[in-house]
């Protein structure tokens, strides 16, 4: 494959995103640097979803009439496109409501496995209890931490974690003592939503598999921003969210290796996920249907299919290169401003486009307010990674995050905004 790294034509792309043309706070140009929280949507995605609803809408997998056929085709076709986008098979992709549900699904299914493993020996590999361990990291988003805390609490298993170094990398020096024969599952983020850090997947997968543990990858911040192939990474499960990759809200994705999904007990139960139902008890359908109870996010899947097409046409490698340029420019610019402390790697190595920092003497909330006043939308707070902030000794931080529709003018506006913040609060 030849690397197509012709730079993005950001002006042309921006025309697809109507919201980027609006102004905020008394006529200021909107500088949207909060894509790490949620991305904006191109017309192509909005139009695809609306066209589906205006022309082909019906309940999928349930009806035998023409609209139902068309809707089912559109829904399953979207699944196939999303699966191809991350290098896996359609029957290994489960639609959830967000990435958070995907992680909860695996955690609850593991909890349920304990309840059924006597009657279903296949489920036993997911069951866990006292003496078993769950491994996470200190840089996880709450979505990939709290469900595991809860699973540990419900089952009596123990939660353990990898620490974070001062410069915001995973501390893997003790990998063999953290992941042991007692470990049943290792859950970690591919790319930190705060630090930007891209974590090495291979050593964790290798060690986890060596001890027979399952690997759950939180790919919320990697899949939207770079080419990711779950099969090549060798993870067992992975989650990501439609709304962070130009697609609709209300849709998350769970990848699970075919044989694992086939053996795993269900989580949410109800219509469309059953095989037979009697008052006395029920049996369940094959995956992915087994994990999609109730009426699915039909039009949202269609929208995400369009988002995946859009990203593919632009090119994930080009998007990653573009964001790299913006990230390095932001990091270099911040380094020149005194009194700024960047949380996370300060160079562009193994790092994505989330740039978090604190301004000496200015609370992040106040800094965010001054930026907002200039039309610059950043996120302030702990970004759902409170333990990470505690570890790094800050209560909160300001985060700028980039996407394909940002350009160097946005970076410049951001840096000017940071300088204005210092001026406004009179800090040196």
């Amino acid at each position: 494959m030849t690397a197509v790294t012709a730079p993005l034509d950001v002006d042309a792309l921006r025309a697809d995103f109507p919201i980027l043309g609006r102004t905020v706070r008394d006529g200021k140009r909107l500088v949207y640097l909060d894509s790490g929280a949620t991305a904006q949507h191109p017309n192509q995605v909005l139009d695809a979803e609306a066209a589906f609803l205006r022309e082909h809408n019906a309940a999928v997998h349930r009806g035998a009439h023409q609209l139902a056929e068309e809707a089912t085709d559109a829904y399953e076709d979207a699944r196939a496109r999303v699966a191809a986008f991350v290098g896996v098979s359609p029957d290994e992709v489960v639609f959830t409501k967000n990435a958070t549900e995907g992680i909860n699904l695996v955690a609850y299914a593991m909890g349920n496995a304990a309840a059924v493993s006597s009657s279903e020996p296949e489920a036993a590999r997911f069951a866990l209890g006292p003496g078993d361990e769950i491994v996470v990291t200190e840089m996880e988003h709450h979505a990939n931490l709290v469900p595991w805390q809860q699973l540990a609490q419900r089952t009596g298993a123990t939660l353990r974690w990898f620490g974070v170094t001062d410069d915001g990398r995973l501390d893997l020096s003790d990998v063999d003592s953290v992941i042991t024969a007692r470990t049943k599952v290792v859950a970690f983020t591919h790319q930190s939503n705060v630090l930007g850090t891209v974590n090495p997947v291979a050593p964790l997968v290798d060690r986890a598999h060596a001890v027979g543990a399952l690997v759950v990858l939180d790919a919320c911040q990697s899949v939207p921003h770079s080419a990711v192939d779950f099969a090549a990474l060798g993870v067992d499960f992975a989650v990501f969210s439609s709304h962070k990759m130009l697609g609709p809200y209300g849709l998350g994705l769970l990848y699970g290796r075919r044989e694992l999904l086939a053996a795993m007990p269900p989580f949410l139960t109800g219509g469309s996920m059953i095989e037979t139902v009697r008052m006395e008890g029920s049996t369940f359908a094959a995956p992915p249907q087994r994990f999609e109870a109730g009426t699915p996010m039909t039009s949202q899947a269609v929208g995400l299919g369009a988002a995946v097409d859009y990203l593919t046409v632009v090119g994930m490698d080009r998007i990653a290169a573009h964001e790299h340029t913006l990230t390095v420019a932001a990091l270099d610019g911040l380094a020149e401003i005194p009194g700024i402390r960047v949380i996370g790697p300060t160079d562009g190595v193994s790092r994505g486009g989330a740039v978090s920092f604190v301004v000496d003497g200015v609370h992040p909330h106040d800094a965010g307010q001054v930026l907002d006043d200039q039309g610059i939308a950043v996120r302030v707070g702990h970004h759902c990674a409170w333990p990470l902030h505690r570890r790094l000794g800050v209560p909160a931080s300001v985060r700028a995050s980039f996407y394909l529709y940002n350009d160097l003018a946005d970076v410049d506006a951001f840096l000017a905004g940071v300088r204005e913040t210092k001026r406004f609060f009179g800090v040196a």
Binding site: R62, A68, E69, T72, D73, T276
Partner: protein, 147 residues
């Protein structure tokens, strides 16, 4: 009218006068299959004689498509080598998943070619395959070589 394409006379005949219906002894293996959306079900038994499908018998409830295709199945596979039966299985599955683009081979599928029209209705493909899936499963359980 598209409907006639789907409900070929052959299909309606098999539906009204199914071949090989009713569960028979002796048998080597049995398979129960269900279509979870409509509740259609089939119980199908297979008796093998060496490498040959000696008998197929079945019972169940379902729509004309699922009943007729199981009836056609018995005509196609009983008395044939298992390997040949699976050739027909593959041909039938390919036809059904072809969305109307696959040209069926009458020498292989005989009455089964009448289901070409059904392939255009994805919601009915599962109906047409219900008995066939039971056959595949039962032969596997009976230890028949698939290939």
């Amino acid at each position: 009218m598209q409907l006639q394409q789907m409900y070929q006379e052959i299909i309606l005949d098999h539906y009204k006068n199914p071949h090989g219906r009713g569960l028979r002894d002796p048998f080597d293996a049995e398979s129960f299959q269900v279509n979870p959306t409509c509740g259609d079900e089939v119980t199908l038994r297979v008796r093998l004689d060496g490498d040959t499908v000696a008998d197929v018998s079945y019972d169940g409830q379902g729509c004309s498509i699922s009943q007729a295709s199981t009836s056609v199945l018995t005509d196609l596979v009983v008395g044939r080598p298992v390997v040949e039966a699976f050739g027909k299985f593959d041909a039938f599955v390919e036809l059904m998943h072809g969305r109307g683009t696959v040209e069926p081979d009458e020498d292989v599928l005989e009455d089964g070619i009448a289901f070409a029209g059904v392939a255009k209705y994805p919601a009915r493909v599962k109906c047409a395959l219900l008995g066939w899936m039971a056959f595949k499963d039962a032969v596997a359980k009976a230890g028949g070589e698939q290939r």
